[in-house]
Each structure stands twice: as C-alpha cells, then as structure tokens.
C-alpha cells in the first residue's frame, strides 16, 4: 500500500501556498543539526535514515506537522534508536530549559 510520504498524484490536493517564509532560528538549527550529524566527519546518521524515520512517523502526524517538525522528530527518534540519547535525558533537559525560560 502507498504510504503517506509518497505524494505524487495524491488525490484532492489543493492550490499551492506560494508565500515566502524566512526560516525561524529553530528551523535553521534543525537543518544545521542534520547536516552536521550526517557530515563526512561525523557520520552519526545518514540522510537516508532521516528519510526513513520521517516516513515511519504516524501518517496523521506526518500530515499535521510542518516540515522541520518532521525533521526534528525524526532526528530525535534516530538518536534514541542509536542509543546516543535517551527519552529521559531529553525530557529532563526540556524541563530544565523550560524552567529557565519561564
């Protein structure tokens, strides 16, 4: 069966929003993060793995998320899968950062 990322000819697609968006800093950081992790020097993950992790997102989440949300979620999932980070450590760091920014 065709999966959610395989969009060519997808039925009922509407008009294309052509407005220009400057990337927010978190989007640039997410892009840069992927490029660094996939760089020849580091090779912590491959772009092919990123694609696979994006394709493995829940289909409803894939449709709902914006572009770099998909990337960030996929990067996080891959880092956990590879045993580089844990969910607990991420949750704890998030809580610390949220408290600081509160």
């Amino acid at each position: 069966m065709r999966r959610v990322h395989d969009r060519g000819g997808w039925p009922d697609a509407g008009s294309i929003d052509r407005s220009e968006h400057d990337l927010a800093m978190w989007e640039k950081q997410t892009d840069a993060l992927l490029r660094l992790l996939a760089s020849r020097d580091k090779r912590i993950l491959r772009v092919d793995e990123l694609r696979r992790a994006i394709e493995d997102l829940d289909p409803a989440a894939y449709e709902r998320m914006n572009y770099y949300e998909r990337w960030l979620t996929a990067i996080e999932n891959l880092l956990v899968e590879k045993g580089i980070l844990t969910r607990e450590a991420i949750a704890q760091r998030l809580a610390e950062l949220a408290a600081q920014s509160g």
Partner: protein, 207 residues
Amino acid sequence: MHDHEHGVHAAQTETTSPHELRVRAIITLLMDKGLLSAEELRRTIEDMEARTPALGAKVVARAWVDPAFKARLLADAKAAIAELGIDTSAFITLKVVENTEKVHNVVVCTLCSCYPRDLLGVPPAWYKSLNYRARVVVDPRGVLKEFGLELAPDVEVRVYDSTADVRYLVLPQRPPGSEGLSEEALASLVTRDSMIGVARARTPAAD
C-alpha cells in the same frame, strides 16, 4: 525573532516555542557528549545563509554567454561549475537540463524535498509542500499556470521527479531583449523559480 543570534544559548525572548526548546535540548545534550560544538553549528548555519540562488544564477548567466561552457555544463555539471571557481567538492551529483523553444523542464521531489541546494540554498516552502509534490507530476501545466506560466500545447513539458542521488537544475531560456547585457546583468534576471522551472527568467526592464 533573534535572527542575528546563532548560539543555542540565545538570550531568552518573551516566549520560547516548544520547537525552539526541543532543538536546544537535543543540541545541548549532544554538546555535553562532545558530539557537536557551538562553533560547528554556527558555521553550518552561516554556510546555509550564504548559499543562495545567486550561485545558480552565476552558472546560468555564463551558460548564456558561452556556448562551449553550456555544452560542458549539460554534459558534466560539476566539472563545468568548478571552472567558475565554485568549490564543488561536497556537491551532490548534479544534472542541468535546458529549456528551449520546444522543451520546458520543471523539477520536484514527490517523496521528500530533494533540491539542488548546493546551487540554490534551502528550498522555498511551496517546493516542500504536499500540494506541489502531489500535483506537479500529474498536472504540470495546471501547476505552471498557477505560477503564472502558460505554455503552448506544442511545448513538451518534462517533469523531473528527483527520487534518488541526483539533483536537477533547470537552465532557463535567455530572455528576449537581453542582447548585449553584461554577465552580471544577465545573472540578475535569473530567479530561483526559473531554475526550478516554474517560471521563466525575468525580461530586462525597458528603459
């Protein structure tokens, strides 16, 4: 937002979005492990911001004024681009496809967002959108019309779906009225969208 600020420990603004927090959490955790440095991140973002369609426009303008260069560009894009002093050592395999009176090329990636970033920078939002990816393969003429480009029926439309390890760049037609312009002036007519294939190059403003 703090567009000038590249650090991950950016001064807090009034609100911090969940995405900002999340990317910062991951980045700082990786830094703690020594897998990544603030300096590397800063340089990577700078490189991203420096890479703009001006690079592609320079290549196109040279192809317009130098037929021998154009032939080499179409045959082996990377080698030809290196002639212009552009560092292509980290380039992904690139193929340049030429628009003519009879053929119009347009590029998409239906599976994700493959794009000739080495020459054009980050793709525009619409290129990555689900609607563009869905429609341009099945109804290219309708999509081009939406972009303001109506093609005669006898022009062959070629849609390139970049599904693998090759990136495609469109060499737009040199616009009428551009005779005698300098290479630099020509490059200013070459828009990002014309190198994706959803528009023609600009025509020179009439004096």
